[in-house]
Amino acid sequence: MTNLKLDYQQTSSAKVSIFKVLGNSPVPWLFPLAMILVFVFLYPIVDMIRLSFTNANLISAEYDYTLSSYLTLFTSSGFSRMILITLFFVFFSVLFQMLLGCLIALLIDQGVKRGLTGTVMVRTSVLSAWAIPGVIIGIIWSMLYNESQIGVINYMLHSFFGWSLPFLSDPNVALISVTLANIWRGTAFSMIMIYAGLQTLPRDIIEAAMIDGANAIKRLVYVVIPTLAPLLLINLIIITVDTFNTFDMVMALTGGGPGQSTEVIALSIYNRIFREFELGQGAATAVVLLAINTLMTIIYFHYMEKKQVVA
């Protein structure tokens, strides 16, 4: 009898301790959030990877597990071209978004410091480009690039110089045109990030450099840019991932054409799944894009970790 009592007490105290541990733990409180993250983020990714190993399409519910999606993707003549087109689009978009963003941020910063009027207006108008949805930007730029007599840019070129440009119908020019439109779209984000960084620059370091006789360019190269380096790197990674994922603006502007001259990876995924209904091949292409984006994220975390250790 006594033994039974003791057993009961031990079991009971064990139960209490489990609930006590759980009650003191953040796990039950984080559980719902974890479930949401699993179902909203993790599950779609896992499912996409699973589908990439199938020949699934949106027309039939039946499919088999196969490597054919990857084999078709990697052996198709268009794959290397698509990668090259995407790299061109991303490299020049990111390069000029950073350069122009930096330039505009410095100009606005100097304008504010010198008490010039209109800096807020400039800041707002630049930022508005970032706030406009990609599809609308595509339509706006297609009107600007229109090659007939109603095209704004060609009308001006023809009026002043007597010639016009095949902005969207020549494969090589079309890729440059699309990249330019994307630079215009993304410059604002870089500008606002760098402008925010400039506001946090310690005044005393700049003043010390001025006392040491550093001119504006030397101050920029040897003081401002090194101080802003962490922010510039984060900005670089964010806009790189963002540009890799861009498809809405390109779809509205060229649809990937002429031919496949402006078909970036993200647009190719959309076309494979929603135009050709090839879910398996679209998923395989999406996995390639995911791998690129994951690489970018690893670099980002690696840098952040390094920064924390240094701090």
């Binding site: 649809g255 054409g257 076309n271």
Partner: protein, 439 residues
């Protein structure tokens, strides 16, 4: 104690969430619906339509018409409610999602389906023969191409095509005395028009479905070509079909290379993209859809509009003729006989019956799919309607419903835009398109 209560509340919450996914809920819903019917409670008919055909249409006249029809239908049936929902405006995407819904048994009672794709939904759609008979609707009254897609392989009717469209040659009567009937005549005429400073001949030549249905298929079909074989496998790159397709691509290539058509067509993927060019007043001929009559009437002055006329498409040889028909169909997915009857009744009064089709096609500027509706007092066409009707009755064909068609279309769009932009020769472009599809 407080901690215990919190944990208990959390556990209860999880149990409630888990309970939401219980299959028993579905059974309970079915029971409730049965009870509702028995007690005269509300029966909902889910109606999924393209935005332009729904209460979200940007046209106030359309919305007013649809709302009046819904109100009248609901007033007549008392316990029945139309539950509207809209498709994505991207048709390919919308059809892919609808197919997914249908495959999972989640399709609405009524859904709008791109007519050429209708055969892909046969397995999920309900046969409508008894309802056709009950309503006195004769399938023979529909155009032949519409009958072909409405009837399944078992001979039963699985859908109702209620609007259609077709492609023709538009030409300026003040600069073109007689529309060309063959490619040779077109080349000769274009040379003269080019010398006079006109853009002789425009066509959609970019990445878009308009390029295939308007600039490729009518010319390919007219020669006797077929995109797919009897087993619905790609066939455009082999044998005679390859020769016919190469003829079409070479024709488009030559039009651009000789300067009769501008290179910028490589960026026009739909027929509507040509409208701004036509508005410039420098275009002599173009191939386009019947719906562009209304669009051009809005952007051209009355005098300029009066200069335009339509004719059959010029073909490779005299005597060949074909054009593409499109349009929308309704499908009924619900397996509930009561809902099927109600859904059919709603469609008849709003879109399919004599007055419904006449009114809706007049409002939207569409072409009716039934011969008799053209004679109905409520139908108002335009000065070219008789020619469009003749095209539909005699020459029109629909795209193949084969599952490989979207891929064929995409690859041929790439081929045409590559040719028009001067990036590839017709042979190279066709070879690449065929290799991509037949992989």
């Amino acid at each position: 104690m407080r901690r215990w209560k919190m944990l208990l509340a959390l556990m209860l919450g999880l149990v409630v969430i888990a309970g939401c996914g219980n299959n028993g809920t579905v059974e309970e819903t079915d029971e409730v619906e049965e009870n509702e019917k028995a007690t005269g409670e509300v029966i909902e008919i889910e109606w999924l339509a393209h935005p332009a055909y729904s209460l979200q249409s940007p046209g106030p006249e359309r919305v007013e018409y649809l709302q009046n029809q819904i109100d009248a239908f609901e007033a007549e049936h008392g316990n029945v409610k139309i539950k509207p929902d809209v498709l994505s405006s991207n048709i390919s995407e919308a059809m892919a999602r609808l197919m997914e819904q249908a495959a999972q048994g989640r399709a609405p009672a009524i859904a709008q389906i791109d007519s050429y794709i209708l055969p892909r939904f046969y397995d999920y759609l309900q046969p409508l023969d008894p309802l056709f008979e009950q309503a006195g609707l004769d399938i023979e009254d529909f155009f032949p191409f519409a009958q072909d897609i409405m009837r399944g392989p078992d001979g039963q009717i699985y859908g109702i095509q209620f609007t259609t469209d077709t492609r023709v040659l538009y030409y300026r009567t003040d600069v073109v005395d007689s529309p060309p009937a063959t490619w040779d005549e077109l080349f000769a005429l274009s040379e003269q028009l080019k010398a006079d400073g006109y853009e002789a001949f425009l066509f959609p030549g970019g990445r878009g479905e308009g390029t295939i249905v308007t600039s490729v298929l009518p010319f390919f079909w007219a020669q006797g070509g077929s995109l797919v074989d009897d087993q619905d496998q790609p066939a455009f790159g082999t044998g005679e079909n390859r020769e016919y397709m190469l003829n079409v691509l070479t024709f488009l290539h030559d039009m651009v290379q000789k300067g009769y058509s501008p290179q910028r067509l490589a960026n026009y993927g739909s027929e509507g993209d040509l409208n701004s060019e036509v508005a410039s007043g420098n275009v002599a001929m173009f191939i386009g859809g019947n719906w562009q009559v209304n669009q051009l009437a809005e952007i051209l002055s009355e005098d300029d509009m009066a200069k335009w006329a339509v004719a059959p498409l010029p073909q490779r040889e005299a005597g060949q003729q074909a054009t593409t028909a499109g349009g929308w169909a309704w499908g009924i997915f619900t397996d509930d006989p009561v809902k099927q009857e109600l859904a059919f009744d709603f469609l008849m009064r709003t879109f399919v019956g004599d007055e419904g089709m006449a009114s809706w096609c007049t409002l939207g500027g569409y072409l009716p799919t039934r011969h008799s509706v053209y004679e109905h007092e409520a139908y108002e066409g335009n000065e070219f309607t008789d020619i469009f009707r003749e095209h539909l009755a005699e020459f029109a064909r629909m795209r193949p419903a084969a599952t490989v068609y979207p891929e064929i279309s995409t690859q041929l769009q790439i081929a045409v835009s590559d040719i028009v932009s001067g990036n590839k020769s017709p042979e190279e472009a066709l070879e690449e398109a065929w290799n991509a599809v037949a992989k």
